[in-house]
Symmetry: C2
């Protein structure tokens, strides 16, 4: 039996980690025109910064991620950080080679300044008064963190989904600060369908009577049902149809082999209820996911994250020509997409590849056959993980030669 303690002490785990809070006093002017007078960023680091300060990798998180990307906070932790499959000694993002930095973004709810923080102007939680933050704002705040850590150039900036948007923004806004950009399961901007799903999530939250126009903390409550619904919708879009068929079709797969394939129709109790109860395993799973998420995430943060997704479109400052945005970028790009990801399908990554080539950039691109949909970017899929390792190993060799 593998105990928790042995998990944290496994040779490929970063082990027990302690988040650090960094305070920034200089006001941060945001894209909206508003300003944060001061803010905190919650940060974790894994591995050692080398003497040349050249081996740092920044990890940018997606919608519901945070600074806890790898390892364990205590021996009793059930689960490691959200990207422990990729980060650790000897792993693809190898902490024997790299100094890895992960942070909770502004507006989040895991320790960095966000809607649950106290607004110095009122003495109450910001709540809905926390300003809308954009990917550009996040990258600006990450740049200050970089300076604080004494790093002048990231060996790589790495992120999936919304994290991949931050990677793009780094390459555009601070070309001198990025040696390699790894953008996974992402897109140069959302489509109408993406925005539509985000709006359903937002409306789920804001129409919950416990939302109280975002001031639910002051009412000592929170919009749990709305957050559950938002996550249930989201979760469907993270999984592929085929992943759901496989996940919820084990019991019937033998029976169904006479027709074409398994459709994921396993029943929870073996019989239909002929009532409005939950009948199918997939329904039960969605409720479980919604329940778990809504107990741990701040609703105002969720709203902010979805707006950052919707707003991201770096081409708007370049006459809607994205290739112009990347013209002054000076890093190698590595892009990955997954065949069954219908939230950010391979086509969106190919758009970005073409745009980068048009801008004269160096870009490698891998399209991975994977059943897991958008969620594949978090999975230990060998072809994907090995390619990521290969790209970063090259980056490491280059920086060793440079020093």
């Amino acid at each position: 039996m593998v105990t928790q303690e042995s998990k944290a002490s496994a040779t490929d785990s970063v082990g027990l980690v302690t988040p650090q809070l960094f305070h920034f006093d200089e006001p941060l002017l945001l894209r909206s025109g508003k300003s944060l007078p001061a803010y905190d960023l919650m940060v974790e680091t894994y591995g050692e910064l080398n003497a040349a300060r050249s081996n740092a990798i920044l990890i940018c998180h997606a919608l519901s991620g945070d600074h806890h990307a790898a390892g364990y906070h205590s021996d009793s932790d059930r689960k490691p950080g959200w990207w422990d499959t990729a980060i650790g000694p000897g792993k693809a993002i190898d902490t024997n080679k790299f100094y890895v930095v992960a942070l909770n973004n502004l507006g989040g709810c895991a320790g960095s300044t966000g809607p649950t923080s106290i607004n110095p102007e009122t003495g109450k939680p910001y709540g809905p008064d926390f300003p809308v933050v954009t990917v550009r704002d996040w990258v600006k705040s990450q740049k200050r963190l970089m300076s604080r850590l004494g790093i002048e150039k990231w060996a790589a900036v790495v992120g999936g989904s919304l994290g991949g948007m931050q990677v793009q923004r780094w390459a555009i806004s601070y070309p001198e600060c990025v040696a390699n950009a790894v953008c996974i399961a992402s897109a140069p901007k959302l489509s109408a369908q993406n925005i539509a799903f985000n709006e359903v999530a937002r409306y789920s939250i804001t129409s919950d009577p416990n939302f109280h126009n975002g001031r639910y903390l002051e009412h000592d409550t929170y919009p749990k049902q709305g957050l559950m619904l938002a996550r249930m919708v989201g979760h469907i879009t993270y999984l592929s149809d085929s992943a759901m068929r496989a996940k919820f079709g084990n019991a019937s797969s033998q029976l169904e082999s006479t027709t074409r394939g398994n459709l994921g129709r396993d029943l929870r109790s073996g019989n239909l209820s002929f009532g409005l109860n939950i009948d199918f395993e997939v329904e039960s799973y969605l409720h479980y996911q919604g329940e778990r998420f809504s107990s741990n995430f701040d609703a105002n943060s969720y709203l902010l994250m979805t707006k950052a997704l919707d707003y991201f479109d770096p081409s708007v400052d370049y006459g809607n020509d994205l290739s112009k945005a990347f013209e002054s970028s000076d890093c190698r790009f590595f892009l990955v997409s997954f065949s069954t990801d219908w939230r950010f399908p391979p086509e969106r990554s190919r758009e970005l590849v073409e745009t980068l080539l048009k801008a004269g950039r160096e870009v490698s691109y891998l399209e991975v056959d994977a059943d897991q949909g958008h969620d594949a970017f978090l999975m230990p899929i060998p072809r994907y993980i090995n390619a990521l390792r290969g790209f970063l190993d090259n980056a490491y060799e280059e920086l060793c030669h440079a020093s």
Copy 2:
């Protein structure tokens, strides 16, 4: 200017129509084991039944449809019935040739017995006590309507989506009563992803505090927000990504021509709000659709319709071998699917085609290239409408020769 009156009197319109209520006194034993002691069906008919009573076509409606499939109820009607593009004099379902019968299904909310009807046992609306009805139950009730109309065999049973499931059930349960089966944009059963979206819709409704366990009418209220959300999610799945890009990307299509294609990111006001307001046209459209629908549809009916969708799987009584279910069918089948329909994609229709061929059935199948997603089945797409016309014209000639 085309006035309403001239619309109803257009030569290809069935014109002004009056629904008829048919009362059935014989109890209907349902699939669940429960029974409806008596029930009403709201029906519209277009065209004339011939002397041989051989030219009748049954139209089966989808989730939110009803008996009002064509024509106008009054000169002031803004819109005709839901399938007016296909039904009328000289149209694909030609009322000069056929006697067309459309009804509101049991459990619906447009006049047939359903949750808003009075439960004779309590003197109050059925509400949540209305029994769960299945596609099989609907077809059983439609069979009684058929007898009442003095029809022994339908020239054709026609339906799209959930309507197509009723078409399949007719061919299985009453093979002697169907000459032709037209099954459009449908599937032999839902996949886990389909069920998941339905469960999100149901949870939206049931978690609305105005739902009151389904007894909202007794509380003089209704779960409007929940129904709105359910419809917003549904609407995204009826449209394709490409249809949404085209629909919400007009203003920017010129600007975006420098990158690849239009993503449907038109802004409502031209500027981002940097708040939690509605920014994009697609959001505004979704709210409009949700608002309109939630003002006209009963929440308990919506729940019942989604359960009927989830439960449909005629193979379960045939050892999960659907081809066995169709072995005694005795009609010609015509199936249509649409390239961008991701709710019931072409693959699901191809499964059905293969199953029908395995069962030794005669089947024609058309896969239509169309941008409109699942909604395409309601659209006047020439290739689709002409094929439907061709199939039914052949059916008509056959019945003329037979008589």
